[in-house]
């Protein structure tokens, strides 16, 4: 397997020996903007404008400064269509900022930018939406199930999740800036390659533990029999949803069933 960081795989990729520094004020400006990278999300250029918005403070370092020809050309390039996971877009922002500052050819930057979209989306979705988020959520539900206070459940969820979230954004920017067009190497980091697997295992364990406990606490003092009946009902329902996955969404069924039960309960008395 070829080493994607090697200069041969991406012509003119930085060798890593040069230490190009990003001024602290620029770094802070980019980091603060990264949290709003999706603010103009739309079906035409997706987060393209957001990428331009985040890269912009670095582009001021180009010869001619803000408003110069190089700045404008680079900003126009960086504000085109782009799609990635929002947290991992920081890898792209760092790498693209570096490529622009190094004066890489426009065609190469554009092709690299296009190729980055898919992997950053795929890795991010697996690591965050199907990894970190459900794992933290089931962890919080587990705490609820064993009787933790609302504040504890909320804080543990937010602290765990955002420790991962903020670290990803900061690390991504750093790695992107360090590696430039060779950022693919950073995507091969064990955290990004194996993180989804570890999180999936932790998430499965926590889901298995949290769901029965959450059901028990919701049933609230109904006793073991009542909790058991509710759990068996939930297990049957889960099996049906798995059987019909892709065709039925449980939350939509629950919406209808919930309102139907409400009306039935009210009518029964009337």
């Amino acid at each position: 397997m070829a080493d994607p960081t090697a200069p041969a795989s991406v012509p003119n990729a930085p060798t890593g020996t040069e230490r190009l520094q990003l001024p602290m004020a620029t770094r802070v400006a980019i980091i603060s903007r990264l949290f709003a990278v999706q603010a103009s999300w739309n079906y035409e250029i997706l987060i393209g404008n957001g990428i331009g918005f985040c890269v912009e403070p670095a582009l001021r370092l180009l010869p001619g400064g803000a408003g110069g020809d190089k700045y404008r050309a680079a900003l126009a390039r960086q504000s085109q269509y782009f799609n990635a996971h929002p947290y991992l877009s920081s890898f792209a922002v760092g790498a693209l900022a570096r490529a622009e500052i190094e004066g890489q050819p426009a065609a190469r930057i554009e092709r690299f930018r296009t190729a980055l979209c898919g992997p950053l989306g795929s890795v991010g979705d697996r690591l965050v939406w199907v990894g970190l988020l459900p794992t933290c959520s089931f962890g919080s539900l587990f705490l609820f199930g064993i009787g933790a206070s609302p504040l504890a459940c909320m804080l543990v969820f937010l602290l765990l999740y955002n420790a991962g979230h903020v670290t990803l954004r900061l690390w991504g920017l750093q790695m992107g800036w360090e590696k430039g067009l060779g950022v693919a190497a950073a995507l091969g980091h064990p955290i990004l390659r194996m993180g989804p697997v570890w999180l999936a295992r932790a998430g499965t364990f926590l889901a298995g533990a949290a769901v029965p406990l959450t059901v028990m606490r919701l049933v609230n003092g109904g006793g073991l029999v009542r909790t058991g009946i509710t759990l068996v009902t939930a297990a049957v329902g889960a099996s049906m949803l798995v059987l019909f996955h892709g065709r039925v969404e449980g939350w939509r069924l629950a919406l209808l069933a919930g309102f139907a039960a409400l009306v039935f309960f009210l009518i029964r008395h009337a």
Partner: protein, 163 residues
């Protein structure tokens, strides 16, 4: 059929492909058909990074895809064939009689394209190409993720289902 989905998606390998479809269909391989990516080692490396360890990915040109399609189709594990544009899929459909069902997963905005769905934008030429494929017996529908509604080509082209 081991190739569970033949998808057109200009984002190629991304979250909807790997997680959205990959997990419910338990996909174990992806065939990415793109002449440029097939000839670019660094792009292949980049796309490989987006694929989970349990899934393999093959990068092939259109000619190679036509030649190897039977072996992909006979793979006992489920897989997905992916192209980044309509023209590539049309060329595959024309050359592979067994390829008779196509999923429109994402064709995004570009100058000259008009919106048909929130994730489908087409030029007149692309619209004509899809119609020609359908006339040739290919069943085409749009669906970005498995839980979303399946939208037949005629409804897509009518542009009546933008949400």
């Amino acid at each position: 059929m081991p190739i569970e989905l033949h998808r057109i998606d200009d984002r190629l390998i991304h979250g909807q492909v790997v997680v959205g479809w990959g997990q419910p269909l338990e996909l174990r391989f992806l065939v990415l058909v793109d002449d440029e990516v097939a000839g670019s080692e660094w792009e292949q490396e980049l796309y490989r990074m987006g694929v989970p360890p349990e899934m393999r990915v093959e990068f092939v040109s259109v000619a190679q895809a036509i030649e190897k399609y039977a072996s992909f189709a006979s793979d006992p594990k489920p897989g997905m064939l992916l192209t980044g544009d309509i023209d590539t899929m049309a060329r595959l459909c024309a050359a592979i009689p067994a390829l008779r069902r196509v999923n429109l997963g994402g064709v995004h905005h570009r100058a000259g394209r008009a919106q048909k769905l929130r994730y489908i934008f087409l030029t007149n030429a692309e619209e004509a190409e899809l119609r020609a494929m359908a006339a040739g017996g290919v069943e085409i529908s749009a669906q970005d993720v498995p839980a979303a509604r399946v939208i037949p080509l005629e409804t897509v082209l009518a542009g009546e289902a933008t949400t």
